[in-house]
């Protein structure tokens, strides 16, 4: 394959050989260049910035501080709170984006054709609504004074609930809005997987005297496990990221930092307090942490799908 092997040949032939050699690279160049320029090189740069102290001003000096940024962040209660909140977001999202849709998918598998298409069309709507619009609408519906939700609570005799300004509630409110966007989508993914299960398997089990619950446990759940794992993977790796828009529009991380997750903390460090070093150091911690979790989940997924065969 090396060029040397064609060296004795004449000019034009050699040219076409070279052409053939570089051609595949030319085709993929635009895409790879984009990823290098906007993702991989910046990733390396973030790593370098995490050892420096800088305030984002072009004229300000950049100072090497070694591991100081990491030490400072790890000593910061805010950092641990954001990490804990990230975990709470994911914990709250899993039931809404995976468990509930799973239950619905299993219960509704045999609804008749026409109504099923209508349900499909309706429950998918939140998925395509712009996140900022979702944030605005829920802000309006959950408004403590004039929102329709508190209107309903008031009509039932309850006190107004401060969904977004109560430090104990705000995180769950944002989790709910994030989950609201995903619920229909997950339901459709799991319904599709559920519908593709071979009916004769279930028929056979039923004739053998298996109960509905046994069929769900021993046939449906194992066969659905690749789809379930895919959703779990998505929620864990992307879930906290999705809530960024809602946090920024609805609470800006408050009250008392109770809705700040790790992604929002990066934003606050970087563009709120202009401490590039801190933001970059947390970015590196986040990236390494999530890479490890992703590797673990992919390993688990490979192992589980092997069991299916």
């Amino acid at each position: 394959m090396s060029l040397a092997s064609v060296a004795p040949r004449h000019g034009p032939n050699r040219w076409s050989r070279l052409n053939r050699l570089v051609r595949p690279y030319l085709y993929i160049l635009p895409a790879i260049a984009t990823f290098v320029i906007w993702i991989y090189e910046p990733l390396a740069r973030a790593f370098v910035l995490s050892f420096q102290q800088w305030n984002l001003m072009p004229t300000a000096p950049r100072r090497w501080v070694g591991l100081e940024n990491y030490e400072n962040i790890l000593a910061l209660p805010r950092f641990w709170q954001a990490l804990e909140n990230t975990g709470l977001y994911l914990l709250g999202l899993l039931p809404m984006a995976v468990l509930l849709p799973l239950a619905i998918a299993i219960f509704t598998q045999d609804l008749s054709g026409r109504t099923r298409n209508l349900y499909r069309a309706l429950i998918f709507v939140p998925m395509i609504v712009p996140p900022v619009v979702a944030a605005a609408v829920w802000r309006w519906m959950l408004d403590p004074h004039n929102g329709i939700v508190n209107g309903a609570i008031g009509a039932l005799g309850g006190d107004p609930v401060r969904f977004l300004s109560d430090p104990h509630l705000a995180l769950w409110t944002i989790t709910f809005i994030t989950g609201w966007k995903l619920m229909g989508f997950s339901t459709l993914v799991l319904s599709a997987a559920n519908a593709s299960i071979d009916g004769s398997l279930i028929e056979a089990a039923r004739l053998d005297g298996a109960s509905t619950w046994e069929i769900v446990r021993d046939i449906r759940l194992p066969l659905l496990s690749p789809a379930i794992l895919l959703l779990v993977l998505m929620v864990i790796l992307l879930g906290a990221q999705w809530s960024f828009s809602y946090i920024h529009v609805l609470t800006e991380g408050g009250p008392l930092g109770s809705t700040t997750n790790i992604y929002y903390l990066l934003w606050q460090f970087g563009f709120g307090s202009l401490s590039v070093g801190w933001s970059s150091a947390s970015a590196v911690i986040l990236f390494v942490g999530f890479s490890l979790i992703a590797a673990l989940l992919f390993w688990l997924k490979a192992k589980l799908s092997f069991h299916d065969d």
Partner: protein, 288 residues
């Protein structure tokens, strides 16, 4: 047991009828109706509020009474809403076109030839989603600043000139393309550009269309990049504009809901017309 296995293929219909009766059926419908209501009521409420006259904005009746376009008029005049909508459309259309172009080229490159480093490069493409935007935001911001492109529409387009999802989807589609067609075209003396644009692309119209829908909607809904890279309303997109109605002094609910409706109108219109394709392309994407 053997009997069952033999009869099975003929039985699913009967089985379905049996499973769908009894207590599970109404419960299933009930669940779906609840979920459907939860899904679309907020959108209904947004549109309803946006059409209410100012003195009825706070009404919690769930049926419309008097309708007015006042809130829309206000939203369009208070901020450069129309300009922002046009900006959003331009950015989304250009990003869609470019991502599909780079996706087609890379898809052809990866699927047509085996070359040194192919799997490594493919891995680099697939792993891009592991890098959250927030992790690379500062270096990207600095790069845009160095290019002198802060507060331009170009800055919103540049980081999106390729997407891993487009490439992976097109590689997959092109790999399943029958290789005899390639060989026949090669025999006829067609070059690669000709094969790609006149044979492969026309045959992948369906895949490319569903990709276009997905990329357009995701770009339209994008919030993080514009938040980072734009400064003035004139050069911004509609998602940023919405926030201008939420102020410290209080929120102007009517205009905010009108602006929100305008910001989701193109997406909802696409969905109304191409509902099946939209759902299918999102399910294929596995999100993003």
């Amino acid at each position: 047991m053997t009997d069952t296995a033999l009869q099975a293929p003929a039985r699913p219909v009967a089985f379905r009828l049996r499973f769908g009766t009894g207590w599970q059926r109404p419960l299933g419908h009930g669940l779906m109706i609840l979920l459907s209501l939860l899904s679309v009521f907020p959108i209904y409420w947004m549109i309803l509020t946006s059409l209410r006259p100012e003195n009825e904005i706070l009404s919690t009746r769930i049926w419309p009474d008097a309708a007015t376009l006042d809130n829309y008029a206000y939203a369009l005049s208070a901020i450069p809403m129309l300009r922002m909508l046009v900006n959003t459309f331009v950015v989304s259309a250009v990003v869609t076109a470019i991502q599909i172009l780079t996706g087609i080229l890379a898809g052809y490159g990866f699927s047509r030839w085996r070359f040194r480093g192919a799997s490594l490069l493919m891995g680099a493409v697939a792993l891009t989603w592991l890098v959250p935007l927030q992790v690379v935001m500062i270096p990207n911001y600095l790069l845009v600043a160095r290019l002198g492109m802060i507060d331009t529409l170009g800055a919103l387009i540049l980081p999106h000139t390729a997407s891993a999802f487009a490439i992976l989807l097109l590689v997959q589609a092109m790999r399943s393309f029958p290789s005899e067609v390639y060989e026949a075209a090669r025999m006829d003396g067609a070059n690669h550009a000709h094969i790609l644009w006149h044979i492969v692309v026309p045959n992948l119209r369906g895949t490319i269309a569903s990709l276009a829908i997905l990329v357009f909607i995701s770009t339209w809904n994008e919030y993080f990049w514009p938040l980072l890279l734009t400064r003035s309303a004139q050069n911004s997109v509609v998602q940023i504009g919405l926030q201008m109605f939420i102020t410290a002094e209080g929120t102007q609910w009517g205009p905010l809901m009108a602006a929100s409706t305008l910001a989701s109108l193109p997406i909802l219109a696409i969905y109304l017309v191409l509902q099946r394709q939209v759902i299918a392309s999102f399910m294929k994407s596995g999100l993003r």
